[in-house]
Symmetry: C4
Subunit: 266 residues, 4 copies
């Protein structure tokens, strides 16, 4: 029993053994196929012709993921640690909507939750050297979180202030029906998306919009600069790691064999 549990754990949670790798690849294939079914089902012409097959496949994948979910809980020592982890919740959300659809036939919008199934693909990152890359990115983000927080606070303030001001200037008759709608417009404008469903019509509104656009256009330099500087920093730290034991000169490349300052063996 304990042996079986360990074996399953090795296959499902780890990726060192051939069986573990094969499981991961099969899992990703199942996730991608299952999402493809969800997407195809939404196309009217395909749904009309292959609706029954897609319905069958949906249940096939749901049962597959349910078995997997059960095995994960069975094979881990502390099930609660898995259940309340990020991937644990995602795994549960992947299977619930289909079961719910039996009891709540009208709750169509619940089916949207199945999209989160896709997040399970990120398990692939444990497989390879992509972990290093994603850790580097995560570290760069983490290191610069104070700067990013200041930036975000500024952006949120600008959006709310411009949204509110535009509501009073343009008014309901020009499409700015409420402050939440105006804030939505300010986000559309500042991020340079510019749908054009709501546009300023008064000269003053157009002037204020122009200021917001230039702000949004220019301010993007700040997070970009932060991340660039941080990644350059992170790259430097990873590279220069060897110190000469003789003269304490730092910063030798990993392939260096002698200290470039005192000539000692490294």
């Amino acid at each position: 029993m304990e042996h079986l549990r360990q074996k399953i754990h090795e296959i499902i949670f780890e990726a060192e053994t051939p069986a573990g790798k094969a499981f991961d690849i099969a899992l990703i294939a199942a996730v991608v196929l299952s999402i493809t079914c969800v997407i195809l089902e939404s196309v009217a012409s395909i749904s009309a012709e292959y609706g029954a097959i897609l319905y069958g496949l949906e249940w096939f994948f749901t049962i597959l993921f349910t078995i997997e979910y059960g095995l994960r809980i069975f094979s881990i020592k502390k099930p609660s640690r898995y259940i309340f982890s990020f991937f644990g919740i995602i795994d549960l959300l992947s299977i619930i909507p289909t079961f719910m659809s039996i009891f709540l036939p009208g709750a169509q919008s619940l089916m949207a939750i199945r999209a989160f199934r896709l997040l399970r693909v990120f398990r692939v990152l444990k497989l390879t050297r992509y972990t290093q890359a994603s850790q580097l990115l995560a570290t760069a983000m983490k290191e610069s979180r104070a700067k990013i927080a200041v930036f975000l606070l500024t952006v949120v303030n600008v959006i709310i202030i411009f949204g509110t001001v535009m509501y009073f200037i343009e008014g309901k008759e020009n499409g700015f029906t409420s402050i939440p709608v105006s804030i939505y417009w300010a986000i559309v404008t500042m991020t340079t998306v510019g749908f054009g469903d709501i546009v300023p019509l008064t000269p003053l509104g157009q002037f204020i919009s122009a200021v917001l656009m230039i702000f949004g256009y220019g301010i993007i330099a700040v997070p970009t600069g932060i991340v660039s500087a941080e990644l350059a920093q992170a790259a430097k730290k990873t590279q220069f790691t060897r110190v000469c034991t003789h003269c304490s000169k730092e910063g030798h490349a990993s392939e260096a064999r002698f200290c470039d300052h005192c000539g000692e063996d490294l």
Copy 2:
């Protein structure tokens, strides 16, 4: 009296004492809640049902901020220095519109000024290590202000020239009703917002637009590059941390053997 003044100053203007921290948190909560009321009031369905409550809350927050404004003037040694400071003006603008609404019932657009109330949230930056981050960003901006000025001068010139040229090419019949409107269109286009409310219709106008778009798309690299380089520079300065024990000159590289200021051994 003097003691009370100092005590109030400590609570309102500083954040070192528990009471000061509590005040700051309460202030931010009040600001956020008051803005939420302004936003909700603008939604027709909410305003119809809870209009009276929101009106009451508006006055509650206005009186609260008025008391706070009075205490700030009372507790500071040189009131004029606070009154004409950035935050002093913001604090005053936060309360004036509500009082004005009694005397000028028609001046709806004045109410927009209340949005600036939100800027008071930036006081939070004094609370924490975010000061350091915002200072770093501010320094990076300051250091590169000559470069940014040259960039902005170029952008303003491009916008005005393209706006004027497009007015004469497209003309009033294609929506470019005046040069100010054409300049607004040029800003919408160069910042890559692209509402689509005004679009070039003549082949020559479309060609010139294409040039403006590519210019706007590519030139964003310049401010981004400036800020990136400046932040990398700023980060480097922070890193070099060896200090001379003789003359206290900071900023020596880790491999330096002598102080570059007084020549002492490091």
Copy 3:
């Protein structure tokens, strides 16, 4: 015969001799002119007047490129290596559609393939020092491919999840007719293009759109930061140019006193 083959190879495939350079310039001129013909032919007014001339020119260039294609196969030692190379396939695609138009008169859309003819212009890069620049860019891309893969995986996931969720929230009546269309909308929105042909109309849909826009607006910092850091790295490697006279190990810093590979004095 063998001599002729070598001579042709020198002219067509290399750029060191004057004849080779002249051939390359003539080839680029022919490609650009031939594309210009394709473009002009599509303009109704030009096609009506000069249709016959453009048709003649199309055949002239096609025959020219066919002869060139034949000479390339003739002059190279291993024809299969050229035929299945990137440029070999492009060269074939450049001539096929025109010949096909005789046998399949209705297959208008095949003519689009002629556009790929333009890719032949990239042969110009072999001519000059642009090789170095393009290699530097290619290296920077290659070095950061793990990070870019993680970034792309995230972006693809976000697009599919937001597209699916928006389909269930907005529904067919608001223009989100199927999940593929919703995903198209999510791409239009996240890349900040924002055509405005499909826009969210429900408050919840607008809120989710706002999140997607801010995500798309901010996340661009990541690839930019990656490329910036990588190019800075690449530039640095090019700079460090001291070579050990003993073991020929390159890349020593200018302040290095000993070779970090063999320990000799520099």
Copy 4:
């Protein structure tokens, strides 16, 4: 005579003397005011009321600029060198349209040329330390011109190929009336402007658009990375300039007084 010529040259072309500085400031004021007149004249309501005054001002500034142009030619030793310089051509273009309007009353679109008058503002850069900043930016651009050329060649190819392909896929009935129009659409889309005046309607067209958008969204990282790396490089070169005469250790900060390697006086 020669003395007068030198005096005028000093005032008009240089900025070291008080008179020269005053002239530059007056010139910029005149340029800005004259452009403001051009802009105001285009607004129907203003033109109706103040048309006569604006017409008078236009001639006042034109005569002023004509006198200045004459003085520039008079005061310089080699007039041809000035006349065919960038600013010489701009200066001439600033005055010609107004004179032309007498002889060619119908040539309204000629008036657009007056907008180039604004470029004269760039003379201000000679006045100040902005020269340094603009030179740094210019150097960064120049250094990376090979990389930028490769990038631009790629972008131009992508735009033409996608434009051509979309013309054949979407066709005239969906608004892609000719390849030039399709290329215009491709530029609007790739630069993430997205007016929405022309949008793909077929599923295949939407898929190809999505690819173009993601390409345009991601590829912006390349010029940004190039400029960032180049500016970081340029900043480094400017900073680290002092070399120790004793031990040849490079890279001392400009304020350093002793070599940080051997301790000698710098």
